[in-house]
């Protein structure tokens, strides 16, 4: 149904008896009383940028074309995203709607765009289209032809619609339902509409500092996607929220006037940039938690903070090993598999890359971790010496490698020289007698 016709039909509906009256919602800054109407589903269209499916729709649009909720084919795609967004929950709600009808009213604009209740509307549509099956099971689903909702006045501008959508969609009780990335996209969208951080905080029931943090994180998320050549494919942010939140916190600590936890004179631009780029690779391989923090958390237990030599050698090893991995470009992949869903293709590109990089990533991190442990134990000489002795004693002197490795003799010479120097200085040492 076209926009003008939808407006006409909804206006006609408003002249009729409402389904519920006296519903208070905050509209344009004041509490206003609205009525709920029973709206035939064909008068309504989905909101494609609904906070629940924003990342999927944006990723899809970046690959193919802009979705038009009025177009039947596009509508099916939006319905697919809505269904997939929370399959298990949808099945439960579906049964609930069949048994009890729509208990929670929705919210639609004067031209029939569903602001709140897209998922419920999808399920009502689905149930009604399958009414014969339900009838066979002894359920009368005629009530599912309608969507009960408040119809907003025609003067509702884009900002107000965004505000209402966010308030309803991201209200405290609903938050858990959402894919974690959606909240970041929501803030990005709201800021595009020129809504101030303070107002966004109120809509999302968050602190203003949290909104500022979310803003920084979505910028970092965009940078991460650009780094991989995945601009706008937000579905590739799956399972990256944790480390990206951590990385953002590190950047904040290291930028500005510098961080005292770092035990060397790092450059707040160039070295922090190198750190971010390296972290992006570990995030791509889905490192998180303790292992991820080991790279650059602002503490003495991180490779970045401990020493310039440690960090530089870790970084150089990373560049030489992980940096040399070859893979098809996104453009090449797009051309070779044009029919496939880009999100899935890129996921398999990441999986392939991780498979090739895993040994290097793990090996470099393990080596640096062991060096870090040694540096942290620098004042425990016996412990370090025992560790070194144990390592040397573990060498299999009967293996062929023991005799043919060209670097082994050189390394053993270095060990010999160093231990000799240490022994000499220990013997020379005369404690100060006070």
């Amino acid at each position: 149904m076209e926009k003008s016709l939808r407006i006409e039909k909804l206006n006609e509906l408003k002249e009729q008896q409402p389904y519920m009256t006296g519903i208070r919602i905050r509209y344009r800054g004041i509490d206003e009383v609205f009525n709920v109407y029973q709206i035939p589903l064909e008068y309504l269209i989905y909101n494609k940028y609904n906070g629940r499916i924003g990342s999927s729709v944006k990723s899809f649009e970046n690959q193919y074309y802009k979705l038009d909720a009025e177009n039947t084919k596009h509508k099916n795609k939006i319905e697919e995203f809505l269904w997939e967004s929370k399959k298990d929950r949808n099945k439960i709600t579906e049964t609930n709607l069949v048994e009890n009808g729509q208990l929670k009213f929705g919210l639609v604009t004067s031209d029939g765009v569903i602001i709140d209740g897209n998922r419920r509307a999808l399920l009502l549509n689905k149930i009604y289209s399958e009414r014969e099956i339900w009838r066979g099971k002894g359920n009368d689903v005629n009530k599912c032809r309608f969507f009960n909702a408040i119809i907003l006045p025609e003067d509702a501008d884009e900002q107000e619609i965004q505000r209402l959508e966010t308030t309803f969609q991201m209200g405290q009780d609903e938050k858990l339902d959402y894919n974690p990335i959606e909240k970041y996209l929501k803030v990005k969208d709201l800021k595009k509409f020129g809504i101030a951080d303070e107002d966004i905080a109120k809509m999302m029931l968050e602190d203003i500092t949290e909104i500022k943090k979310i803003t920084q994180i979505i910028i970092l998320m965009d940078q991460y996607l650009t780094y991989l050549g995945y601009d706008g494919i937000y579905t590739r942010l799956d399972k990256t929220e944790g480390p990206l939140v951590d990385l953002n916190a590190y950047i904040n600590r290291y930028k500005g006037s510098g961080c005292q936890k770092v035990e060397w004179d790092y450059d707040i631009d160039l070295d922090v940039n190198e750190m971010i780029t390296l972290c992006f690779d570990y995030i791509r391989a889905r490192y998180e938690g303790k292992e991820f923090r080991l790279i650059a958390s602002p503490s003495k237990n991180s490779i970045f903070c401990k020493s310039k030599e440690l960090w530089t050698s870790f970084l150089e090893n990373h560049k030489q090993t992980v940096g040399s991995i070859e893979e098809p470009t996104v453009q090449e992949i797009r051309e070779s598999r044009p029919e496939e869903d880009l999100s899935k293709v890129l996921k398999s590109r990441d999986v392939d890359w991780t498979e090739n990089a895993q040994n290097y990533l793990k090996g470099n991190l393990g080596k640096a971790e062991s060096q870090l442990r040694n540096l942290n134990d620098a004042d425990k000489p016996l412990e370090l010496a025992t560790r070194a002795l144990n390592a040397i004693e573990s060498i299999n002197t009967e293996s062929e490698q023991f005799f043919i490795d060209e670097d082994l003799l050189e390394t053993l010479c270095k060990i010999n020289t160093r231990t000799f120097e240490y022994m000499k200085s220990i013997k020379k040492y005369k404690p100060n007698k006070k």
Partner: protein, 170 residues
């Protein structure tokens, strides 16, 4: 060696880098720095780095720092050299100045100049006699104009400051 030329579009507030742009951008860290730290746009064979009027020099310094870190050869357009002449002179002078300060710190200073300094201190700070290393430290302080002294207690930091002051005030 990768070579980049830095030019200035003063009307639109951009630094424009041209030359071996694609070679430079094969380094992922360089590319990331241009995009995320300098908010640059890559347009074909050139990189455009925007700047606000008040941070014109800061951004140039960042570009310079980047090119130096990754050993890129940096040249400047004629126009750029004219406009930024003062900045480059200051940069060059600072380099020379830092180098000289370092030679003093390493006790490798110009003998004659140091003797003049020592005479001046002896004459103008007659009630205190500075030890040789205190004198060198005072000379370094007087020359550097900005410096920090974290010597242990009793090393003579006060005398060093007096020495530099007595020389500079005349």
């Amino acid at each position: 060696m990768t070579q980049l030329t830095v030019d200035l579009d003063e009307e639109n507030n951009f630094y424009i880098l041209s030359g071996d742009v694609s070679a430079a951008l094969t380094n992922v860290s360089v590319k990331q720095f241009f995009l995320n730290f300098l908010h640059a746009s890559i347009e074909g064979d050139v990189i455009k780095v925007p700047f606000e009027k008040q941070e014109k020099e800061i951004i140039l310094k960042k570009i310079h720092k980047l090119l130096e870190r990754y050993s890129f050869s940096e040249t400047h357009s004629k126009y750029m050299q004219e406009v930024m002449n003062e900045y480059y002179c200051e940069e060059e002078n600072f380099k020379l100045f830092s180098k000289k300060a370092e030679t003093i710190k390493e006790n490798n200073c110009e003998k004659e100049d140091f003797e003049n300094f020592s005479h001046s201190v002896a004459k103008n700070l007659s009630k205190r006699k500075l030890y040789p290393l205190q004198l060198l430290s005072a000379y370094h302080l007087a020359f550097s104009q900005n410096s920090c002294n974290f010597s242990v207690p009793g090393a003579g930091k006060t005398s060093i400051v007096y020495g530099a002051y007595s020389y500079l005030k005349i």
